[in-house]
């Protein structure tokens, strides 16, 4: 505490200078995307770097007019949010059971859930394709939601479980003697108490699937189910060659939704990441 108060005058400037440099360094890829995205194709691949390129909206117009970019963006957002919702609905009760009830094989079940994450995706790719084909869900965002949810379910369950384990048992005992049943306890006591943890798990899940490519490509065969990550691949082949400025803009657009979510819940996120380490 004292050391923060002692920082005055010059010290503070140095601190801001260092933090600004670090911020610039972290944001560099994003700035670079924007710089490439808004310059003409002729200024992208050159022998000498161009520090102050000409502003060009060619790529910007192209991605919106030549491709259904809004649809891809919508597909991405819907599939990701849908999958996170599915994860939370399944993981919260599972984590509650794993952290609170005593039964035989509890640890084994917990490990089994985690082990689903250890499998190489290629092993299940073909079965999943057939599964969704038989269900008639190929090329829909519903299938994407389910696959994304499956990818993250184990990790979300484990994160939430560890937060639940940290909640004092007394809290539940109190609620029980106050007259609450299991579901009320879960809904009114546990979930609010670990909300930062749930948010943390949700954000980590989103980050994991925003760039998902393999299963998306497998399931999506038309723009109906294309997401931003698959859309990126549109600009690498074909008669036009690799369209770098369009790729940069699409990559930037794919980054924006998660970025906005993280900004919105920043407070909870930092609390969630440190919770458990510091006694509340």
């Amino acid at each position: 505490m004292a050391s923060i108060r002692r920082v005055k005058g010059e010290n503070l400037y140095i601190r801001y200078l260092i933090l600004s440099c670090w911020g610039l360094f972290c944001l560099m890829p994003v700035l670079w995307f924007l710089s490439i995205g808004f310059r003409p194709r002729t200024e992208i691949i050159t022998a000498q770097p161009i520090y102050f390129p000409t502003l060009s909206l060619d790529a910007w117009h192209m991605i919106w007019s030549d491709w259904p970019m809004a649809k891809y963006l919508r597909n991405s957002v819907a599939a990701i949010f849908g999958s996170v919702m599915i994860d939370l609905v399944l993981a919260i009760p599972a984590a509650y059971s794993l952290s609170r009830y005593e039964y035989r094989g509890r640890e084994d079940i917990g490990f089994y859930i985690l082990s689903t994450r250890m499998m190489a995706p290629a092993i299940v790719a073909i079965p999943i394709f057939f599964l969704f084909r038989n269900l008639g869900l190929l090329d829909t965002i519903w299938a994407l939601m389910l696959v994304y949810a499956a990818i993250n379910l184990s990790i979300v369950t484990w994160i939430i479980r560890s937060y639940m384990t940290d909640i004092p048992r007394e809290l539940e005992d109190a609620a029980r003697t106050d007259g609450a049943g299991d579901l009320r306890i879960l809904w009114e006591i546990i979930i609010p108490a670990i909300l930062p943890g749930i948010i943390t798990a949700a954000v980590i899940a989103m980050i994991f699937v925003i760039n998902e490519f393999l299963f998306t490509l497998l399931i999506a065969s038309t723009p109906d189910a294309y997401t931003m990550s698959v859309a990126l691949a549109n600009f690498t082949g074909g008669s036009d060659g690799v369209i770098y400025n369009a790729i940069a803009l699409v990559a930037f657009l794919a980054f924006v939704p998660v970025f906005l979510v993280v900004i919105a819940i920043q407070k909870h996120l930092s609390r969630g990441l440190t919770m458990g380490a510091v006694k509340g």
Binding site: P168, E170, D173, A174, T177, D178, G179, A180, E188, P192
Partner: protein, 352 residues
Amino acid sequence: MAQIELKGVSKRWGAVWGVRKVDIEIADKELLVLLGPSGCGKTTTMRMIAGLEDPSEGEITFDGEVMNAVDARDRDVAMVFQGYALYPNMSIYENIRFPLRMRNVPKDKQDELVRRAAKMVELSDYLNRKPGALSGGQRQRAALARAIVREPQIFLMDEPLSNLDAQLRQAMRVQIKYIQRELQITTVYVTHDQIEAMTLADRIVVMQGGAVQQVGTPDEIYSDPANTFVASFIGAPPMNLIDGMIKDGNFVADHVEVPDVGIKTTGQIRLGIRPEDCAVVSSAEQRHNMKGDVYGVEPTGDMTVLTLRVGEKNLEIKADRDYRSELGVQENVVFDTNRLYFFDSQSGERVR
């Protein structure tokens, strides 16, 4: 308003006994304290009364009705926990209202009851705060308000004061006792603090190793202990225990002799004497029962705790407030022979 009975109640986890065949009857409106060191089974006993733990054997009844199969939330008990267990996301108002909401008390009645309970524990000005913004004492009072708000049949308090500092603890003790008398609710109070037990209880149950050692009023527990465990657990400093022999009706031990103790048995025995029933005599010629060298002198203001090295043992004596001495000085001590206790040296049971 309820009378509680535990009949042969045990709790076992595999081969480990938490509580072993406990029989306790708790009268309506009584404040009963379960007292014992940590791990003695007192909290487990209370949790079984609350319904948070199922007994492995035996029966628990409220007003003659068997409660074993009744869920905690249907037992109409309210519990106060050591760690307060306030719901961190709710305001103090919402915390106190929670049990009313769970029991579907009419909405307009809820507000009135919450405010009344808050007033009883002097928290009316803090109702909008979150538990995190309150001090330890205020949190404890909030937990108390949550317990009293719906006037349950039974109060259960699990070491509610042990996280508070000494001064606050004394004030809260008085408040708890006052509220309990006012509301006339049967209360079971768990503590390891003998002062709390002595000051609060109508009756004390002393427990050790999962079993009841003695049940009695604070006076009975203090002046008529059933065995060496109870004798040495209650009292600060604890009762002095001296191993010796009965010879020709006299008690004899290393540096200790008490004539005509009136015990019929002979052979090995353990003598118990409380520190306040010993007195230092000023000259060696006077009649005395024990000799020892001064090992420690601790003035506490209202008295001086004198520790004497007697043979291989340290024994404590409550001496006059202005008693002072140097280490190593030999002192002679006389016992109040009306207040001697004898215990079997093997079993520790009282010998009368």
